[in-house]
Amino acid sequence: MDIPTLTSKRSLVSGSIILIMFILLAISPLYAPRYTVILLTSIFMYVVLTVSWAIFSGPTGYISLAPAAFFGVGIYTSAILGKALPLPIVICFGALASFCLALLVGALTLRLRGIYFAIFTFGLVEFIRHLLLFWECTVTGTRGRIVILVDQTTVYYVMLAIFAISLLTSYFIRGSKLGLALQSIGQEEDAAAHTGVNVTMVKVITFAISAFFMGAAGAIMATRWTYIDPYTAFNPLLSFMPVLMAIFGGMGQLYGPIIGAAIFTYLEEFLITRFPYHYMLIFGIIMVLAIVYLPDGVVGLLQKLWKRIPGRKHADT
């Protein structure tokens, strides 16, 4: 069997597995209990944040701590426009608002390298939050906003759709010239620039694409919370979570961030219900242990274990 048919056969198999999974997820509100649907929506939200974070930060190695900013922009767009416009348009606006902010921020800051970029994006979230707080206190004289509720099943389907689109986007970027350019930037940025990659353009566009999905996720999630204010919308925890989830899952593979986000979200739910007083402590310990002992994530660990199974050794060589 020659290689092209082998790979196409493999991608056919994995493609159909993914398709079956999506069909199962799509019909789950019909048979699953209400709680499961809500939990799945939370999982999808984190998966979208993590997958879209990994689109940019995975190959380039730039640690962006801005997810909370883009997510929050989506939330606020939804809160402001939700009363006037239909849901799909609101979500599009939320996504576009984040996209534009990312274009602006990216164009300004992506010449900062390494830790400077991380610090800047971290500061951005705080800056927007404090500016909004000041605005609400002095100009509008209100604190927070009420968001129009949408029923849980609709939220679920919209989130599933955003999840599917972000996953497809991530998949196509990986295989495209853009993905190759991103990887070369991650390995040696100067060399990439010398070989004709428009480094700034590639970084800014990809950064904005990843923000697009975060904004969309924020716009739909806002409808699940009845009340939002700058503290809930621009929560720095939401900047760190996607990073930790991506690392926990392993960034080498497309499905790593998905697995990481799913396990972490479930773990969070489990710990909150079982150990309401100690859950943050346990969470912190797991976080530290995962970073120190699982540098390649769960997927990396599984691959290592898979190779250790006796009898598999000569199959690999």
């Binding site: 190695g61 900062l112 500061g123 705080e126 310990i285 976080m287």
Partner: protein, 289 residues
């Protein structure tokens, strides 16, 4: 008018002293140990709470607590570095990868330290009264405890600078900051020195915490806001520059005081604006090359 200006300037310097101490610690941890320590403010919070406990339970003078809290936090920091960060450093492929993973690990530490503190002390706001009387400085009145705070911040900062500049160990630290690999070849026990730097950074934070507990109410969740201020100050002074951080702390204190005078709600926003403009215009800081 003159009294108002004096009021603004001295208030700024009073706040700046504490900012400086915390930022110097942060700068040491990042500049030498290469940990962008998101949990830095938590060491400050620990210092503040240990001081509060010593004062309330044993009646220990808060200024004397500096000598008790400091070593405790130093040891905690040193052990944390030896157990967590040394392993991360040796297993990371590059310095960039280590900076990323150590920052994330410190974020996990934030949760651990903060929640242990909540388990011990609860979530209530706490405080005590120490040297709480007014001192008249040329017409403007300041609390005595805040003036003592400033004095101690300057003394501690100066002592620390002399330690780095004049002692053998200080020289080893500066060597490790410039080039860890070469410093190692020259006989510096690099793992110990980096751990010591992390510990010393935590010690400076705990000094800041002790001084803060003398003037302001404290609570277990107070650390993070000071971490953010430390990050801003360190960027202001130049990442890794100890002197820059010390001066930067006072500059930020002054900026905060001027903006608060004009519009109290905007001081934090002004910090970020300054921070963002500075990162874009001169990422190496005011004293950077």
């Amino acid at each position: 008018m003159l009294v108002e200006i004096l009021d603004i300037v001295v208030s700024g310097l009073l706040m700046g002293g504490i900012y400086s101490l915390i930022a110097v610690g942060f700068s040491l941890q990042y500049g030498v140990a290469r940990v962008l320590n998101i949990a830095h403010g938590e060491f400050m919070m620990l210092g503040a709470f240990i001081t509060w406990m010593l004062y309330n339970v044993f009646g220990v003078n808060p200024l004397f607590s500096l000598a008790i809290c400091g070593p405790i936090i130093l040891i905690i920091g040193f052990l944390l570095y030896r157990t967590l960060f040394t392993r991360l450093r040796t297993s990371s492929e590059s310095i960039g990868a280590y900076e990323g993973s150590s920052m994330l690990a410190s974020f996990g530490l934030l949760f651990i330290i903060q929640n242990v503190a909540i388990l011990i002390w609860g979530t209530d706001i706490k405080g005590y009264s120490y040297l709480n009387f007014g001192v008249n400085l040329g017409g403007a009145i300041f609390a005595a405890n805040r003036l003592v705070t400033l004095l101690f911040a300057v003394v501690i900062g100066a002592a620390f600078y002399l330690f780095l500049a004049r002692t053998h160990l200080g020289k080893a630290i500066r060597a490790a900051a410039q080039d860890p690999a070469t410093a190692g070849l020259m006989g510096v026990n690099i793992n110990q020195v980096l751990a010591l730097c992390f510990g010393l950074g935590a010690l400076m934070a705990s000094f800041g915490g002790t001084l803060i507990s003398m003037c302001y109410p404290i609570q277990p969740t107070m650390g993070f806001q000071y971490t953010i201020i430390a990050i801003i100050v360190v960027v202001l002074g130049g990442l890794g520059s100890i002197v820059g951080s010390f001066i930067g702390g006072f500059v930020l204190g002054l900026v905060g005081s001027i903006v608060s005078y004009w519009q109290p709600g905007l001081s934090l926003t002004a910090y970020y604006l300054l921070f963002i403009v500075l990162l874009l215009a001169k990422p190496t800081g005011i004293l950077g090359k």
